[in-house]
């Protein structure tokens, strides 16, 4: 059994196509990554194996290009352009993350293939293909700032700057939405027999990913205030330092919403003589009123729980909290999940190689666990030009002599 998208042929080009390409390639599509002969920009993005910035050593590239095949092409040379056209002719979907007008500049963009009626062409650009900002320079930091995420994240102390959440989320958000657009266009191709251009704007994607901000402005006429480790408008702290120096997140400020959870919490606190006056039946009214109406009663309850949590180790706070029905969590580093057996129970990791490292490593499998079409790891990210012969000779009919000449001239 392989993934759900097997049988589809996809071409991917350019930096911003990487995430969308990964999601589809991991799901079984035959995806060919087209890189310039000097290598994709992703290869120059760290971290690197042993911190050596080699062509095959980027772990950023390794993660985002799993299950893809890779060829090289210089699209500025006529022979490279010819090969590109021949590749496009054999493909269902092009993911164009090269930047506005890069392919168009060579006459190799969507308009050049208007006779290929089945073709789905997904353009992923920072601001979309139209509008006054379409040529504006940007980066992850700038896109996250303009899209509104930054201004919602940071600290209670507003003399500190707002914070861009780390992890290149701008490209993930745009890539996830690009896959939505591609799959929608694929569905419409079934009905119409026609492909189309899907114009994905990263700026809009980010702007649709700020939850309560929209409600605050459109209905209440206010801008949400950033707060440390919790939502705007929430009085109690959620992020608390535990006895072992690790943080836990007590969603809801540690105040239960159900009687059973309240009883469990008090029994647990009693084990350490830490329940203070919380057994008083007056606190049960907190179960039935909105947080904003809780006043001093709620504050005292939350403060007492916070004091208790500060004297227990984080893992106990997390596990015991969940066991009594509180949606509490640890504030883990990503890699700390590697040791949590729950994910192994779910077969979440795939064990595979990474270029330049002698031992096998574990990769996250996928964001969906599909019963009939499991997402499988077929190949690690391709080495530069790894599939030139397989694609150009076997599939496009280029002879090996021709390929050698193309290589000499830097076309591939």
């Amino acid at each position: 059994m392989t993934g759900p998208m097997q049988g589809l042929r996809i071409l991917e080009v350019g930096d911003l196509g990487e995430v969308a390409g990964k999601l589809l390639a991991d799901a079984g599509a035959d995806l060919i990554l087209v890189e310039p002969p000097a290598g994709a920009r992703s290869r120059r993005t760290g971290p690197f194996v042993e911190d050596l910035p080699t062509r095959e050593g980027s772990l950023h590239y390794a993660y985002l290009n799993t299950n893809k095949r890779g060829v090289t092409l210089d699209l500025s040379q006529p022979d490279g352009q010819d090969l590109w056209r021949r590749l496009v002719a054999q493909t269902d979907i092009v993911i164009d993350g090269a930047g506005l007008e890069v392919l168009d500049g060579f006459g190799l963009g969507y308009d050049a293939f208007s006779e290929a009626e089945h073709l789905i062409w997904c353009s992923i650009t920072p601001f979309g293909r139209t509008g006054p900002w379409r040529h504006r320079p940007t980066s992850d930091l700038i896109s996250m700032a303009l899209g509104g995420i930054v201004m919602m994240c940071g600290y209670d102390d507003h003399s500190l700057p707002p914070v861009r959440p780390e992890g290149e989320h701008s490209r993930y958000i745009a890539g996830e939405y690009a896959v939505v657009g591609i799959l929608a266009a694929l569905w419409q191709r079934v009905q119409l027999g026609l492909g189309q251009l899907v114009d994905v704007s990263m700026h809009e994607a980010i702007s649709s990913t700020t939850e309560g901000a929209y409600m605050n402005w459109e209905y209440l006429g206010r801008n949400p205030e950033r707060q440390t480790g919790r939502h705007a408008g929430t009085a109690e702290r959620w992020q608390l330092l535990c006895a072992d120096g690790k943080y836990a997140v007590l969603f809801g400020g540690g105040v239960p919403r159900a009687k059973k959870a309240l009883q469990g919490l008090l029994a647990w606190m009693d084990e350490y003589d830490a329940a203070a006056d919380l057994h008083d039946p007056k606190y049960e009214q907190l179960l039935h009123i909105r947080p904003a109406e809780g006043g001093e009663l709620r504050k005292h309850f939350a403060d007492t729980v916070a004091g208790f949590v500060g004297n227990r180790p984080m893992e106990e706070v997390y596990r015991r909290g969940q066991e009594i029905g509180m949606p509490w969590g640890p504030v883990r580093l990503p890699e700390e999940n590697l040791d949590d057996p729950h994910w192994a129970d779910r077969d979440f990791w795939v064990t595979a190689s990474v270029a330049g490292h002698p031992e096998l490593v574990r990769y996250p499998r996928a964001g969906y666990r599909m019963g009939q079409t499991p997402i499988e790891f077929r190949t690690p990210a391709p080495a530069l030009g790894e599939h030139n012969a397989a694609v150009f000779i076997n599939e496009l009919g280029v002879t090996s002599d021709e390929l050698a000449r193309l290589q000499e001239r830097g076309v591939v």
Partner: protein, 384 residues
């Protein structure tokens, strides 16, 4: 689509389908309302374009309504805690009996399988577990995390993608399936790079605030401007950007000062650099400074509020990102659009979110084959 979602993560997934033209029917039960109905504007944004019915699953006739709907649906989706939907009488096996090729998407915090399947999450919990919280923040401060439930969006995106892939597979093979989604896993797939870095290089992730580690460039940060709590993000990539920045800030001589003359020394001295820059940017208006830098090729932008985006952002306005539609009680409002344009199709926002049970009668009559007499009876019996 038979939509048993609530709060935000599930509704985010079905919103995508509804915006794309799918017939999404949200099923509610008056004894167990969507908590987000208490935030009417949020509810409106996440349930626009959907129909809404009520059905009392504890009444045999109400259950029959739900079962007829499932039998007519391509996809059933819910984001209750693990196991809750089965306890309501709808395990995957039952769904399959009602429709052999059904696609069932369950979206819970830790998934339906695994030793911690009973654990529950809200967005901030899942952000804490997956690592999203710990990696975000200034170097010398506790984690800042996220000021909202980012992973409710993300889980919704992956649920929508997974469901669309399952639909594609069903079209090829006729086979349905169960997608057992875990919100925390949708966060962990965003953190594959630091996980590899740890396994290969033994490096634990460290917060870098608004800086840039790969590549190691400076200046790269968020700086104050003339107005209170108004900030500008600046991300230089080259020495040329740096020189332009100094010029625009009216301190061209700074560019060649030995302590800032190359990226390497700037990166080493980034704390002092950021402090010096902050004193300069504080003399400027955020938007005009961002415009001046952008025009000269330096990536820069104001840290936009929702007010900025909805009222002043010329790009979002030009792309028609905030279309309006009517809600029966809230009236006409703008909505956040779908972030893409299609050349052969157009997404639309035709209506706001359904008020409770708004479409019960039409769905029962037109889709599920009930007549008016049956509907009246069931209403009288509180089955619907």
């Amino acid at each position: 689509m038979c939509d048993f979602t609530w709060i935000i993560a599930g509704p985010q997934a079905t919103r995508i389908f509804a915006d794309l033209g799918a017939e999404v029917i949200k099923v509610e039960n008056e004894s167990y309302l969507d908590a987000v109905r208490g935030s009417a504007g949020l509810h409106n944004n996440f349930h626009r374009n959907k129909q809404g019915i009520t059905a009392n699953i504890h009444h045999p006739k109400g259950r029959e309504v739900v079962e007829r709907l499932i039998a007519k649906s391509d996809i059933v989706i819910e984001n209750y805690s693990s196991g809750a939907f089965a306890r309501m009488g709808f395990p995957y096996q039952r769904l399959k009996e009602l429709r052999e090729d059904i696609i069932y998407v369950s979206l819970s915090g830790f998934g339906h399988e695994g030793r911690d399947a009973d654990y529950a999450t809200w967005g901030p919990t899942a952000q804490g577990v997956s690592g999203m919280t710990a990696v975000s923040g200034l170097e010398d401060q506790p984690p800042a995390g996220w000021g909202y439930s980012y992973l409710d969006h993300t889980a919704g995106f992956y649920a929508a993608i997974g469901a669309m892939m399952a639909l594609w597979h069903r079209r090829q093979t006729g086979e349905g399936q169960h997608l057992d989604m875990a919100q925390v896993e949708t966060g962990m797939v965003l953190a594959g790079v630091p996980m590899l870095d740890f396994q290969v290089n033994g490096r634990h992730y460290e917060r870098i605030g608004n800086g840039s580690r790969w590549p190691a460039v400076a200046p790269h940060g968020i700086y104050p401007t003339a107005d209170e709590d108004r900030w500008i993000a600046i991300a230089t990539e080259t020495d040329e950007h740096w020189a332009v920045l100094c010029e625009v800030l009216e301190r061209p001589e700074l560019a060649t000062e030995p302590r800032f003359a190359s990226n390497e020394v700037r990166f080493q001295a980034r704390e002092a650099l950021d402090a010096a820059l902050g004193r300069l940017t504080a003399r400027f208006d955020a938007d005009s400074l961002a415009a001046a830098l952008s025009e000269r090729g330096v990536p820069a932008g104001a840290c936009q509020t929702i007010e900025d985006r909805m009222e002043h952002d010329p790009q979002l306005a030009a792309r028609g990102f905030y279309p309006t539609a009517e809600h029966p009680e809230l009236g006409m409002h703008r909505f956040e659009g779908l972030p893409m344009h299609f050349s052969r199709a157009r997404w639309r926002i035709d209506r706001g979110a359904p008020v409770l049970g708004e479409d019960t009668r039409t769905v029962l009559r037109d889709l599920l084959g009930y007549d008016e007499r049956e509907i009246a009876e069931m209403t009288a019996e509180a089955a619907i």
